[in-house]
């Protein structure tokens, strides 16, 4: 990973898009403005980070802006990793899709959309991927009820059948 100085330089090169550069527990992270995510990733790709290893979502409830999208980039020749974080507010969870440049992001952005409700602008096919199409809500948000149901054991079967009628 870039050392602290390298990370600062990288953040400096990104200009106003980079809000913060954090070096924590051996993980280099740049927090960026969601409006510039495509240009940021493009710049980093030109610096050698050519492999988008993962796109995932985070819910920072009750912090604001609440939702986060994390892009893990990997430089295959130098074995160098960097994480790019973008935070979006929950009432307007919109961020640009990076699928046109990084085809691997297709399904992963769909998953983030499914689980957290982040809308990726410009995604070619933004549908739910894990939950049924008619599912309501985004289950990985922290204010979403865990769900589940009481377990029906054989000894309760009579009661259950009664309740169904």
């Amino acid at each position: 990973m870039p050392d602290a100085t390298g990370l600062e330089l990288l953040a400096h090169d990104l200009g106003e898009a980079a809000l913060e550069a954090v070096h924590y527990r051996g993980q280099a992270t740049i927090v960026v403005d969601p409006a510039h995510i495509r240009t940021v990733l493009q710049t980093l790709r030109e610096r050698g980070f050519g492999f988008l290893a993962s796109v995932h979502g985070v819910d920072y409830y009750p912090e604001e802006p609440r939702l986060g999208v994390v892009y893990e980039l990997l430089d295959m020749s130098r074995v160098d990793r960097i994480a790019v974080k973008a935070r979006v507010p929950v009432d307007a969870p919109v961020i640009d899709s990076v699928t046109p440049e990084w085809p691997t992001a297709d399904h992963q952005e769909r998953e983030v959309y499914d689980m957290f409700g982040v809308v990726f602008r410009g995604h070619p096919d933004l549908r739910r991927i894990l939950m049924p199409e008619d599912y309501e809500g985004h289950p990985q948000r922290r204010d979403f009820p865990i769900g589940g149901e009481p377990v029906i054991f054989t000894r309760d079967e009579g009661r259950w059948l009664e309740a169904r009628e």
């Binding site: 894990l130 939950m131 049924p132 289950p139 865990i146 769900g147 149901e149 377990v151």
Partner: protein, 218 residues
């Protein structure tokens, strides 16, 4: 299409005449009494109690229903169908250590239309449930279902928004507990199912779910 009568030694088209049939049945009768066939020098004639015992030792009387149940229960055709980690244990029951073939269940079928037992090995997500129900509906009667592991019986540790218990959308005959159940446990479950089919076919899901009369008719 012309139907042909099969004669002795499979010679098609030759009708057996009544005289030959009579001789055959006489021969069979003689054999049953412990005698030798005609032409042999000393046919032993059994009478009374001896004949009774002789017949009892050589014949088994049963009802057609239990004979059919016996045959069915000793050759389930499970559907080759794994959902999650339980499937690994399911494979092992077919492996050399547990060897499900000892009981005649080794023919895992790749098509639900050839299977009569579905083993739900793993967790059933909400999106998967209609697909499993469809597979179950495609299986021919009589059919049985085993729910293997905690997830598809009670949702186990995944008792949340993602999963649905198998009982909610299809009838289950045997629940095998465990997370995942060892191959021995699955084997025990299958043998329990065999017991159920052999001894008490009425204990099936139709009775429990009040679905008698919904059988498929040919």
């Amino acid at each position: 299409m012309k139907r042909e009568v099969l004669g002795p030694a499979g010679t098609a088209g030759t009708r057996v005449d009544p005289e030959t049939l009579r001789v055959r049945s006489l021969n069979a009768h003689q054999l049953l009494r412990g005698g030798e066939l005609e032409g042999a020098n000393q046919p032993a004639h059994l009478e009374g109690e001896e004949l009774e015992r002789y017949v009892h030792e050589r014949l088994v009387f049963t009802t057609l229903d239990s004979a059919v149940a016996w045959a069915r229960s000793n050759s389930f055709f499970p559907l080759a169908f794994g959902l999650a980690c339980c499937a690994m244990e399911q494979f092992q029951t077919a492996g050399p250590r547990m060897d499900i073939a000892r009981f005649g269940y080794e023919a895992f079928r790749a098509s639900p239309r050839q299977a009569d037992l579905i083993i739900l090995a793993g967790r059933v997500s909400i999106k998967m449930a209609p697909i499993i129900r469809r597979l179950y509906d495609q299986m021919l009667e009589p059919k049985w279902a085993i729910s293997m592991g905690a997830c598809c019986s009670s949702m186990g540790v995944f008792n949340n928004y993602a999963l649905v218990p198998a009982d909610k959308f299809m009838p289950i005959d045997v629940h095998v507990p465990g997370c995942p159940p060892r191959p021995e446990a699955l084997m025990h479950g299958v043998l329990k199912l065999r017991e159920m089919v052999q001894d008490n076919p009425e204990a099936g899901w139709r009775e429990r779910y009040g679905a008698v009369g919904t059988e498929e008719r040919p």
